[in-house]
């Protein structure tokens, strides 16, 4: 390997690629070549750095300078100033929003300070398309160690001791799952990686596959070794083309290096991996549905037991884990169960990746030790609420989870605590809402999703969720009654108790949790026919302030239904019975005379 003096890391995560990071990469290479520096400075395209809000990101090593929002035009200045003259380009540094100071090293940025990256350890630091870089960061070392020094039982023992719980949402202990699969004797067993990430608001699995695919491949081989499986399958959703491409490259390279395939590292252990593609069905994230989909059936779930560990893919013992769970495995084996257990809380060890989205300043992926509070995540790492608005709620766990409010901000986040306060971890999506968001509409939104994604096999989920959605629509249109609220609650309980799979059993959660946390808002919609967040179009009232109105007639002329009347140069009025709430008058008024109630 050439001896480079400096490395320039360019984020190749799809977020940064969408904002021209590839052109930055090309410009850097051309510029270095023109300056004759190609042998001294290496340019590397990495996986996602996580700080997508400020992308594209360019990092200079070894001095750890972290440039944000870089454009292809900035490249010349970075090379001339930083690389050649050794002077940082201040205007491209991150600015601390609290005191307007420039911060050069990402370690000191609020976004990274509280984070601990285990599953995302290599994302943003290695070129995911180059196995050598992964190996330099210890990839496949754990596999080597296990195959040479450890028995399959010993590997499972470490996994059980570590307390690693399934990161896909269920939170089932991974080591136990592996043990079940290992104990079921069979001529053929399978290891399945669930990469069918579909929760609205979650994208950590995509980032791991795009940024560090080898961590998942290695973990699958380790799982195969300890459970006695020789065949791995990755079920990945068709919506993730870049992750698919990176996986294909990684699999090919791992085979060439002998980390996958026959007689791995001379141990006699064979393990091969095949890709299977999803086709746009959310329910396939449920493990039995996923297995049916791979078998060529409709992706409908079946009752457990039998668990996949007994009878899974093609009726053979199958161990299914999700991407983030697998990504933790190699490090646990290298550093030991004790180390992993020392991080996080007693019952939820390790770290969790969260995807921040919605009305929060720093959107993107973060990874924190379990037990970190919501306040730390939202206000310290996430940088607080956008545009100085007031925090209202955060939805965790996607359509299966619930919303958490101000009073939950100091709850340490782990699997059990989130369930105790009426939400759940889910796959780690966090959608932050501010004062302008209507919680009834939010619940309706998730129900619309569930109605569409319900596979239709069991009636509580197929019909019940549809009825919930209709009730919520009725309420947001100002036609709801108090009886509807009772019905909403009762029906939710029935759906939870009687649905076949996890999708239906959790789908009423957004309704129940918004009802318990924002009951006043439901009442307001039903009795006052009002939506104080102003999101429910049918409940809006457009009112002209007679003091501010100058009688210019602009609103009356733009109104499509002639609901506005008034003499020229005299205050106008809106007839509420005719108004269709199209917002045209509001947009037209130059005097801020029209307000929305």
């Amino acid at each position: 390997m050439a001896n480079y003096k400096m490395h320039i890391l360019v984020c190749g995560g799809t977020g940064c690629r969408a904002s021209q990071s590839e052109m930055i990469l090309d410009n850097l290479k051309t510029e270095l070549e023109t300056k004759g520096l190609s042998d001294e400075i290496q340019v590397i395209q990495t996986g996602c750095f996580g700080f997508c809000e400020k992308g594209p990101i360019v990092k200079i090593m070894p001095d750890n300078t972290f440039y944000v929002e870089v454009t292809p035009e900035d490249v010349k200045e970075i090379i001339d100033e930083h690389i050649i003259k050794g002077r940082r380009v201040n205007r491209l540094l991150y600015v601390n929003p609290d005191n307007q100071e420039h911060i050069a090293d990402s370690k000191h940025m609020g976004f990274y300070k509280k984070q601990l990256r285990i599953a995302l350890r290599n994302c943003g630091f290695i070129d995911p398309e180059n196995i050598d870089e992964a190996i330099a960061k210890d990839a496949y070392q754990a596999l080597g160690k296990a195959l040479v020094e450890m028995s399959p039982d010993q590997v499972i023992a470490v996994m059980k001791d570590s307390g690693l719980r399934g990161r896909g949402g269920g939170g089932f202990p991974a080591g136990l799952k592996w043990e079940f699969a290992a104990k079921n004797a069979s001529d053929q067993k399978y290891v399945v990686c669930n990469a069918d990430e579909g929760d609205p608001g979650a994208f950590m699995d995509r980032s791991i596959l795009e940024g560090d695919p080898h961590s998942v491949l290695e973990a699958m081989a380790l799982c195969g070794y300890s459970t006695g499986a020789n065949k791995g399958l990755i079920y990945i959703r068709a919506e993730y083309p870049l992750a698919i491409e990176r996986l294909k490259i990684a699999m090919k390279q791992a085979e060439e290096y002998g980390f996958l395939g026959k007689d791995i590292l001379g141990s006699g252990f064979d393990f091969e991996i095949e890709l299977r593609y999803g086709a746009g069905a959310f329910v396939c994230g449920e493990e039995t549905a996923l297995i049916h989909s791979m078998e060529g059936e409709r992706g409908e779930p079946t009752v457990k037991p039998p668990f996949p560990a007994e009878s899974g893919y093609l009726k053979k013992p199958t161990n299914v884990n999700n991407v983030e769970t697998f990504a933790n495995v190699p490090v646990i084996l290298l550093k030991g169960a004790e180390w992993y257990k020392s991080i996080g809380t007693e019952k939820s060890s390790g770290t969790k990746v969260f995807a921040l989205a919605g009305k929060i300043n720093n959107v993107g992926l973060i990874e924190v030790p379990m037990g970190t509070t919501l306040r730390e995540v939202i206000f310290e790492i996430g940088g607080g609420i956008k545009d100085g608005k007031k925090f209202k709620a955060v939805q965790t766990g996607g359509p299966s989870g619930g919303c958490l409010t101000e009073k939950h901000l100091d709850t340490p986040i782990d699997f059990d605590n989130l369930i105790a306060v009426g939400s759940m971890m889910g796959s780690g999506g966090m959608i932050v809402m501010d004062e302008d968001d209507c919680m009834v509409s939010m619940a309706k939104f998730y129900l619309e999703f569930t109605v569409e994604e319900s596979c239709g096999k069991c009636s509580p989920c197929r019909i019940g969720n549809k009825r919930l959605y209709e009730l919520l629509t009725k309420i947001t249109e100002g036609k709801g009654t108090m009886e509807d609220l009772d019905l909403l609650r009762n029906l939710s309980e029935v759906i939870k108790d009687t649905s076949l799979c996890g999708l239906g059993q959790t789908s009423p959660n957004p309704v129940l949790s918004t009802m318990s946390n924002f009951w006043d808002e439901y009442i307001e919609h039903v009795t006052d026919k009002k939506c104080s967040a102003g999101q429910c179009a049918a409940l809006k009232q457009y009112i002209i302030d007679p003091e501010a109105c100058v009688g210019c007639t602009a609103c009356a002329r733009v109104c499509p239904v002639n609901a506005i009347s008034g003499e020229r140069k005299m205050p106008h009025e809106i007839n509420q019975d005719i108004c269709i709430k199209c917002n045209a008058c509001f947009e037209k008024c130059k005097f801020n005379a029209i307000s929305i109630n």
Binding site: T14, G15, A18, S19, C52, E53, E197, G198, D199, P200, G201, A202, F203, D205, R206, A238, E239, Y240, P241, L242, R276, Y277, G278, A279, G280, A281, F282, S293, M294, E295, G296, E297, R298, G299, E300, L314, A355, L356, A357, G358, K359, V363, G364, L365, Q395, G429, I431, M433, D437, M442, F445, Y446, F449, E452, E453, C455
Partner: protein
Amino acid sequence: MTDVKELIQAKVKCIGAKREALMPILQAIVEEKNYLNEEDMIQVAEALDLSTADVYGTATFYTFLDTVPRGKYVIRVCKTISCHMAGKDEIVDTLKDLLKVDLGETTPDKNFTLMQANCMGWCHKGPVMLVNDDIYTELTKDKVIKIIHDYMGS
């Protein structure tokens, strides 16, 4: 265009004439032709010794396995909550206006199909859309117009 028969043969050769070859075969046909027609599904059913109803039932379960003709470019706008919060309605309206089609429809020249899809994992970069396999993030009205014009030109 590759013959559907050949596509089926190729998959059967590597996976076997088994039920688990069904999805890969259907996906390969959609990749080649953008959708599955009745004759294709009959051929698949014969090759795997399944009933045609079974093949149809499986195909229609999955949103990405279309059974009606689609345009050369399939546009899928993410409609889940974070993209909604980021203003995807304006994006959909712009596209409808630009292509003169409604959701689920294909332009008369068979170039574009406009659809909505659930979460594509770009929640921090909304609103987003997928045009075939290419993702476009942080969309604005102007960006959408430019992107579509580029496709129209190509």
